[in-house]
Symmetry: C2
Subunit: 148 residues, 2 copies
DNA sequence: TTAAGTGCAAAATCTTTGCAAATGT
DNA sequence: ACATTTGCAAAGATTTTGCACTTAA
């Protein structure tokens, strides 16, 4: 039962996915799991300028492929990545939760707590998964705009 | 009340948005409204290779800005554009409908008919709009895979 | 030791910008 | 005629690819 939640053992996480425990990977995992919103490649690049850009691309691709992180798009259309919970695995992702995109800071929050209502699609469509995107202001930005 | 539905008068549509009636624009409108799924820049580029790539970028940007089309991302993260219905206008889009992304052909369908269930977000978030993405097989692809 | 991962250089894409020529009103 | 819009050239940005060097197991 992959429970990559608080106090995650990153080394084990990598190991269990046949990925070597390297420094760049550990740092990426650490950054991603410490954040409440999803992380983009540019975010990573800015935060870890000593790691090669290409390496970051490859790490993200490998993690996504293995089901360690999943991709969501923010309002700019930039890919952002967030740690997967539970049942994501090699090639199969389940991010059937609410994604909240802040129109102000452009951050994307994965709100897993919420369960989604059932959706019915028209005849002919075969639904495999459903994701809900909400747009608006995240707590930080809504506080800020209320204050001032 | 912008009813850009069947038998649209594209010229009028452009005019009402203070856009000149040019050939590239009419062709883009024509292609987009003739399709059941959203259209990407690469789609347009392939279909109208005589129109400059840059012109297409600018047309899409202008249309989106004016609220004639709206943007959705497909499973590759590529922006796709679909005609807006009714109440989109200068800077404000309302695409609160179901977007269906086909995992096979990667097309995105805007299913406006469906009304979305209410979604509740956690304390602190201020929701402005909600969009639902479903993934799976579109009628065309599901038929195809069933047949053979 | 050796397969996997990283860094660097370079190619391939994709998107934006500036400006002169063309076009719509 | 005049303001837009287009096309082309070129700059910027983003993403991918190839390969030699390094590192975890």
């Amino acid at each position: 039962m992959g429970q990559h939640k608080n106090k995650i053992d990153f080394e084990q996480l990598l190991q269990s996915h046949q990925l070597k425990r390297t420094n760049p990977r550990l740092r990426v995992l650490s950054m991603m799991s410490s954040r409440s919103s999803a992380t983009s490649q540019p975010d990573l690049e800015a935060a870890m300028s000593d790691i090669d850009r290409v390496t970051l691309y490859r790490i993200l691709a490998a993690f996504e492929e293995k089901g360690i992180i999943h991709k969501v798009f923010d309002l700019n259309g930039t890919a952002n990545y967030a740690m997967c919970t539970a049942d994501c695995n090699e090639g199969h992702h389940h991010d059937e939760h609410l994604h909240f995109s802040c129109t102000n800071c452009k951050n994307v929050y994965c709100l897993e707590e919420l369960h989604l209502p059932a959706i019915t699609v028209p005849e002919g469509f075969k639904t495999e998964g459903v994701t809900v995107y909400a747009t608006g202001l995240c707590p930080k930005c809504s506080k800020r705009s209320a204050a001032k």
